[in-house]
Symmetry: C2
Subunit: 412 residues, 2 copies
């Protein structure tokens, strides 16, 4: 088994953290100056590890082993949320780097091929999983052309130009080279911490669906319009939202989640009866039959409230549904084996409730994911953190699993 170097691992994580550091967090949105600086730093690190490194036309950084395949690809993303945590993405990339180094240093594994990757824009500054989509060849050019970031006032095409990547070739998957892809990530939730556990082995990434309710009422004077005459879009919205929260628990599974995170009430003045309102509803589970029921219930509630004839209620899917992504069962056995050996009984097989690049990549090659605990379950926030002991432990487990996957193949 390869031996990872905890000091080197932590030093690299801290150095990467310093690029775009703000307070305790990191601000390194995709294709921005700091993101590209981090990618150039990663390229140099990959080269120092003996890999042939390339930054491609979307900003993916690939470090390719000179060893013949079949290879394992290990990595994650180095772009961040607008106010991101220091480990989200970075952890998985540096794990890949450290595992490639540790394998090369151990004569028993030096002949095995580990490539390392940092995908571009997993966080969706312009388009979520942009880099892995590009690599997998599943990127829709029309969608790419239409992608932009309103807050930054820039289109994806402009951002690529600004990063100097317009004329740089884009890499695509060498399907025959790869046994599969491994990614480690912080859990971003609190299941592991609450259970006193140290490793999560991901079974699958949940399906995500989104719906948007639209309420068409009649804007009016908040004094002179009697309650009976009102067609108050907000009143209908409050009822629909409250009923969703009453009805969904009746069919939800243990890990089902739903969120109504965006509300718009127009014109939005205390003295005006709202004439129009919008409500976004998102829900996630591995089990799509639950999500099917949610869609039916949402439609029933909308129909029921609309049927009173005061406010017209429309509801429709607001995003292309994301199907559940299943992680490779063989890979999972290697991960659970390594976890059980390293921390007996202190690991858990669990779904990922957040989206990750393996949603895209698992359509092309087998994938697996490993989680380490997030302190307090905090994520997408400067306060995100993990215990150093868990960071080191996670890298050991992933390294052992990677070696065991490659060796199993070599011995076949």
């Amino acid at each position: 088994m390869p031996t990872i170097d905890p000091d080197r691992l932590m030093a690299d994580l801290r150095e990467l953290r310093s690029i775009g550091a703000v307070e305790t967090g990191v601000v390194r949105p995709a294709l921005g100056e700091k993101d590209m600086e981090a990618r150039r730093w990663l390229k140099a690190k990959f080269e120092a590890a003996g890999l042939t490194a390339t930054i491609d036309g979307v900003g993916n950084v690939l470090g390719r082993s000179s060893k013949p395949g079949p290879a394992l690809l290990i990595g994650s993303h180095s772009d961040t949320q607008p106010r991101g945590g220091w480990l989200d993405g970075a952890l998985g990339v540096i794990y890949g780097l450290e595992i490639a180094r540790a394998m090369a240093e151990d004569p028993a594994t030096a002949g095995l091929a580990v490539d390392v990757v940092s995908w571009q824009d997993e966080e969706g500054t312009y388009m979520s999983c942009f880099g892995s989509r590009s690599w997998c060849g599943t990127l829709d050019p029309a969608v790419e052309k239409a992608s932009s970031n309103a807050a930054l006032g820039m289109t994806l095409t402009e951002a690529i130009a600004k990063a100097g990547l317009t004329d740089v070739p884009r890499m695509t998957i060498e399907k025959d080279r790869y046994l599969g892809y491994l990614e480690a990530h912080i859990e971003q939730g609190a299941y592991l911490e609450e259970g006193g556990l140290h490793i999560g082995v991901v079974t699958g990434i949940v399906a995500i669906r989104g719906m948007r309710f639209r309420f068409h009422g009649e804007q009016n004077h908040a004094g002179t319009t009697t309650m009976r005459r009102r067609k108050d879009a907000a009143t209908a919205l409050f009822e629909v939202a409250h009923r969703v929260n009453q009805e969904f628990p009746k069919v939800a599974g243990e890990r089902t989640v739903w969120t109504m995170g965006r509300v718009a009430v127009q014109p939005g003045a205390p003295s005006i009866v709202p004439g129009y309102a919008e409500l976004d509803l998102q829900f996630r589970d591995l089990d799509e039959t639950i999500l099917d029921r949610f869609e039916e219930i949402a439609a029933e509630i909308a129909r029921d409230v609309g049927a009173r004839g005061k406010v017209k209620v429309e509801v429709e899917r607001s995003r292309t549904p994301i199907k559940p992504s299943w992680m490779d069962e063989g890979f999972q056995k290697h991960l659970t084996g390594a976890a059980e050996t390293t921390v007996p009984g202190k690991w858990l097989s669990m779904p990922s409730a957040a989206g990750h690049d393996p949603m895209v990549i698992s359509e092309k090659i087998p994938c697996a994911m490993l989680f380490i605990p997030s302190i307090g379950g905090i994520s997408h926030d400067f306060a995100e953190d993990s215990h150093e002991s868990d960071i080191v432990l996670g890298c050991r487990v992933l390294a052992d699993a990677a070696a065991s996957i490659l060796e199993e193949r070599r011995n076949r």
Copy 2:
């Protein structure tokens, strides 16, 4: 009884409408170019009617009769909402002008004193009832100094300077001169139209109270945060708002109204559990005991939802409460008498659910108000309108009542 001239009345209303006309509506916000143009036009009209006209330092336009008092003051406001109707305010000002002219033309009433006024900024572009507050001496200089319009990017002080009024003296009430103040206005609701009625005699202007709920939860990831761990500010808001709509009808009177017109959910993204939310609740009635109960119920609901310990719920008054304003009973008798003579059985005594300058002025001198029907109850909208027959009828009733009030006093 004085005889009003319907053609002159309609011609003046239409000419005033042309100043700031946009589509079928009028855009003449207080102290803006079009508003000041309209005020200069009114000044000339008042002078042509034989009145001594002044635009004062806040933009109030007063046409003062040369006849000795006691006088009746008749008018309304000529500023509009950002997208206002053509009769809101303008109607009452032109009624005053036409009644002053008609009284002067009739030898029987030519000796009676009618002053005409257009108040500044009734609509609250900077401060609602700014002009009448100034005239009544109840304007708080600190509040004036702090008043501004965010959308226009201007303070009230700057707007006064831009209108060239900074060094112009401000008029104040001549309390001994006035028997009282009469104002006609469009109803802005649909009670008259629905009842097939033509005149509303206002009993009082409703009390208005406002409350703001603040929901302090915890922002989090919409995938990885389990339902049990969530402190979702929006979920608490939906429940509070829905329960307000369930509980208020149990104690509301026939004409009580309540509105939740402003909702803010932060950060407002479909994939983020909201950490903070705000909800504005406004309610109006002449009967303050109902409003007291509403405040208690709102506080009970906030306490109950907050007591679950997930989301902290605060609720407090969001505005200085407006007390009910009672219209003068003697004046009301003259108005109902004139209405019954002109349209027997086709008038109604009713409260005003919208605010008007008499809220301010009735603290100083007796006030009364007359409503004419609004087509479809539409108000604060370009589509606001009234039938020409009702416009003419309302002016006749107000003229008869004004003459009868002044004659009663002369004969005393």
